[in-house]
Symmetry: none
Subunit: 205 residues, 2 copies
DNA sequence: TGACTTACTGTATATAAATACAGTACCCTC
DNA sequence: GAGGGTACTGTATTTATATACAGTAAGTCA
């Protein structure tokens, strides 16, 4: 089963919604919909939207203006990919209703600040689940709390390390014990923190 | 070149706009933008939007709620984050010229096909560097070559496993040897392949 | 016949959100 | 060292818009 059937008017309203969003980049207000259909009242629009929401074609945020999200197949995953919530047993195809959130790599997901990505070389952080070839997503900052995974510049090389406090010394440590820890101060060349690792991406070939 | 250059903050705001619209299907309100960036006032948002409008990146309808239209050619890397190539020695701040590529999670990066993401539960794939809480990005398909990491439906649970061939038997194997392999055929309940794992994302708190 | 759904009109109220004005701070550059 | 642009905070006001309640009318199902 997919989505339940729509009446002619509900379909017309859904079509109008889709074309409005495609054209303007934002959803119409209730009065704009009413005007487009020649309604003199808003209640008709509300009723139709309520039906569309009940049948799973749109989702609304109560009280918010123009907060209508179109659901359903014709929405490409242009930006971000849907996160599958529960997996219904024996479902032949994955129902759209299951998608609630979306996974993206942008400032909205990552929070404020400048970000960059860096491809990891070597296996010094393999015990932290960071493998050779992985991309770490880094929020640019020049300090970090102990315990954080940071990207530090050591001479000419950018390295991914834990920032750890040992007594009164703060140092960079690899997750792999085969690598020597590096004190943050009093080391030549002086390490410089480029940012904190906030995400990781790996592509499987 | 057509559109004039943007400041970092203006670019960040434009990226946020693009991803919000892509995710929600409608534009954000000024307060939502302010909240996303941690502003306590709306004037900053207004100023930035004004700059973006003056430079031709967006168009607004005065007085209307959420009436922000993104202009210009659809920028494919609107939501990506830059990948830092070489790290120049001793550079005080990271120069923009160093960024050559961008990391995105969209169909352009992932290739053709439908994709979804799934949050991994448990440590059955920890030896493959897939940890509890990681998101795997899955290309939807119902078969896969042996050697691939797949997401399979086992009864009501979606599990991440290697697809391996042993002799003439094809079976699902965990990377963690503590878990039993499951033959693809002749097992109850019958495993069903949902797709192949093509990527992995992890967020660090 | 009556209950139920769809498809609206009409009026009133509440509020989310845009606008406006005043001010601070930090660059630039001329 | 004055002037302009960027990047905000803080408070107040207005309004576009969502919501609520009370109806009417036609079709359909049982």
């Amino acid at each position: 089963m997919g989505l339940s059937a729509l009446t002619d008017r509900q379909q017309a309203l859904l079509d109008h919604l889709a074309s409005f969003v495609a054209k303007q980049g934002y959803a119409p207000s209730l009065q704009e919909i009413a005007h487009a259909f020649g309604f003199s009242s808003l209640q008709g629009v509300k009723d139709h939207l309520k039906a569309l929401e009940r049948k799973g074609y749109v989702r609304r945020r109560p009280g918010q203006r123009r907060a209508i999200t179109l659901m359903g197949p014709p929405r490409p995953f242009a930006n971000g990919i849907p996160i599958l919530g529960r997996v219904p047993a024996g479902t032949p195809q994955l129902a759209l209703e299951q998608y609630d959130e979306r996974l993206t790599l942008d400032t909205a997901t990552l929070g404020p600040g400048r970000h960059f990505a860096l491809q990891v070389k070597g296996d010094s952080m393999i015990h932290a689940g960071i493998h050779d070839g992985d991309y770490v997503i880094v929020r640019q900052q020049d300090t970090a709390e102990p315990g954080a995974i940071v990207v530090a510049l050591l001479g000419e090389d950018a390295t991914v390390k834990y920032l750890r406090r040992r007594g009164r010394q703060v140092r960079l440590e690899a997750a792999n014990p085969a690598y020597r820890p590096i004190p943050l101060h009093g080391h030549v060349p002086a390490p410089k923190i480029l940012g904190r690792v906030v995400g990781l991406y790996r592509a499987f070939r």
